[in-house]
């Protein structure tokens, strides 16, 4: 399954030394942080990159001619090149956004802008209207569902979706039926934030491109955890968030194939994204500046690049291999406990190192509270995926999600914690 050598226990312990927060006890117990799927922790190099910028380079980027401004601009664009390399893109193909949600909304609104009023000839390919379809999947995070619902509402296009199987995978037979010549956009997640399922991107891209549909991939849960190459996957757009890949909040990336980004209508307009402005009309810069009006989150971009460097130096293939081991340990451990139902692919199937589960007779909120008292941080609720939960007859689950700094001992502490839940709440 994995060809790379997983990070060893010794390497993981060394990695943990780079993360100051992991050493802080919670509720008098050593912290067992299993909520990296929501937000990951930051290594010192990321924290230092942000501080170094403010101490030595802080200035406006892409404005002004003084030395500091030049240094700041250089650092900002170097950061873009680093993050671009991290996902296999060219630097002009990465637009800074505040997070993946913002990236998906940017795309949905850009398609909207291509659908109404006077539209430049090159932007017409993004136009949607009645008779056109946008296809998503039943496993999407609300961030990759609601913006498309709204786009369809605004344009009169129809939203369709690829259903889930009982095993927690996309029904590819149905995908082949749902994706049709009417499909203009196919938007799906690379890795499910609830199921841990790794979707067959190439198969879905082939279906979409066969009907000339644009492919938008939510790479929030893949970019941080596996080697991501947007060119090799041949996707048209992809989004990811800094804070899920060891970076700060408030920064994310939108990848788009250059010819698409340069043709896409702008969304947020204003300073720094224009060529010539008259009182009647404005011309726009090519991507990425075209989509970066106003002052950008500069220090966050630089810190996100530091995070990407940290991950690349550690080795995304080795992180992925390590997480595969942790995923199986979690899954097999939970399978051995009575009254626990896990969602997503069964043990033995490759998946992300996150497991969502239901404890029979105990609400997820109570499970999370019980674990928290032992210093174990997990996520509870619907994880921004209500339709997915409804599909499996649940309203909320508990999710444990690991990362490169998670030890096997932590997984075992978590399993030990879960084994005590039903007893504590008096469920037999």
């Amino acid at each position: 399954m994995h060809t790379s050598v997983p990070l060893t226990d010794v390497e993981v312990l060394r990695i943990r030394n780079d993360f100051p927060l992991l050493a802080h006890p919670v509720n008098g117990r050593p912290l067992v942080y299993l909520d990296s799927g929501a937000t990951s922790q930051n290594p010192l190099s990321v924290l230092e990159a942000e501080q170094e910028f403010y101490e030595q380079r802080n200035s406006a980027v892409h404005r002004g001619a003084h030395t500091l401004a030049a240094h700041a601009t250089l650092a900002f664009e170097d950061a873009r090149a680093t993050v671009a390399a991290f996902v296999g893109a060219r630097e002009e193909e990465i637009v800074w956004t505040s997070n993946a949600t913002a990236g998906l909304n940017l795309l949905a609104y850009a398609f909207s802008n291509a659908s109404v009023g006077e539209v430049a000839p090159e932007a017409r390919r993004f136009a949607l209207g009645p008779g056109d379809e946008v296809v998503v999947t039943e496993m999407e995070h609300h961030a990759n569902l609601v913006p498309w619902q709204e786009l369809c509402r605004r344009t009169g296009a129809t939203l369709r979706y690829i259903p889930l199987t009982d095993e927690g995978t996309l029904d590819l037979d149905e995908a082949a039926r749902v994706i049709s010549p009417r499909t203009k956009v196919l938007a799906f997640t690379h890795v499910s934030n609830v199921l841990g399922t790794i979707n067959p991107v190439r198969d879905l891209v082939a279906l979409a491109h066969a009907v000339d549909a644009l492919v938008v991939v939510d790479a929030c849960q893949s970019a941080p955890h596996l080697p991501l190459d947007v060119k090799a996957l041949d996707v048209d757009f992809a989004v990811f968030s800094g804070h899920k890949m060891l970076g700060p909040t408030g920064i994310g990336g939108l990848y788009g194939r250059q010819e698409l980004l340069d043709a896409l209508p702008p969304v947020t307009t204003g300073g720094s994204m224009i060529t010539t402005v008259t009182m009647e009309h404005s011309g726009y810069l090519p991507a990425p500046q075209r989509f970066e009006a106003g002052t950008q989150p500069v220090s966050q971009a630089i810190a996100m690049a530091a995070a990407a460097r940290y991950l690349m130096e550690t080795g995304m293939d080795r992180i992925h291999a390590r997480e595969g081991v942790l995923a199986q340990r979690m899954l097999e451990g939970l399978a051995g406990l009575p009254g626990i139902r896990t969602l997503g692919p069964a043990a033995g199937v490759e998946r992300a190192a996150l497991v969502s589960f239901d404890v029979e007779g105990v609400h997820a909120h109570d499970v999370g509270q019980y674990l928290d008292a032992q210093g174990i941080a997990v996520r509870v609720g619907h994880h921004c995926a209500q339709p997915l939960h409804r599909r499996y007859g649940l309203s909320a689950t508990t999710r444990a999600s690991a990362y490169l700094y998670t030890t096997e001992d932590e997984v075992d502490a978590f399993l030990e914690g879960v084994s005590g839940v039903r007893g504590f709440f008096g469920v037999k």
Binding site: A364, H365, D366, Q369, G381, H389, F425
Partner: protein, 161 residues
């Protein structure tokens, strides 16, 4: 007693199972109109999916206007379900004004971040939920039924003869 045990006292776990007043039918919960003197409110906590529909009727008697009945249908964590059950126990014995006062008192305790202890003489078993105020993420769970009752009470009073 650990902080976890103070949050999940035995009486809370028992109420979460017993669900006093949790007898509102699915059919009734879906109704969109109800008789004069009756109010109904649906509350959802979108963070965790806790949900409750609470129906309450008032009646005029010798001692003034009183709560005639309180029923609910809900799904959620033990704190939210226990809280609804405890509220139901209280509501059977009080006037409209007293219930409004109790809801306000309960809210003060829950918002106190551990500085105000509920009075069991006033709040009955619901006083055991005082510890929830130390867990800000759970305050909404405990308040869910009470917020629903507050709104249902307002409607019931507005339409009572």
């Amino acid at each position: 007693m650990s902080s976890l045990e103070s949050l999940y006292q035995q009486t809370i776990l028992e109420h979460a199972k017993a669900r006093h007043g949790g007898s509102l039918s699915e059919v009734a919960a879906c109704e969109t109109s109800w008789p004069a003197g009756t109010g109904q409110c649906h509350q959802l906590n979108p963070v965790c999916g806790d949900e409750i529909t609470l129906r309450l009727a008032v009646t005029d008697g010798e001692g003034g206007r009183r709560i005639e009945s309180l029923e609910w249908l809900g799904n959620g964590c033990s704190i939210s379900m226990a809280s609804a059950s405890m509220l139901s126990d209280l509501a059977g014995e009080v006037s409209v004004d007293e219930l409004a006062t109790l809801i306000e008192e309960f809210r003060t305790v829950l918002r106190s971040r551990g500085t105000v202890e509920g009075d069991p003489e006033e709040l009955g078993d619901a006083a055991a939920l005082s510890g929830v105020s130390k867990f800000p993420a759970r305050v909404k769970c405990a308040m869910l039924a009470w917020v629903a009752a507050e709104d249902a009470l307002r409607q019931a009073v507005a339409t009572a003869a």
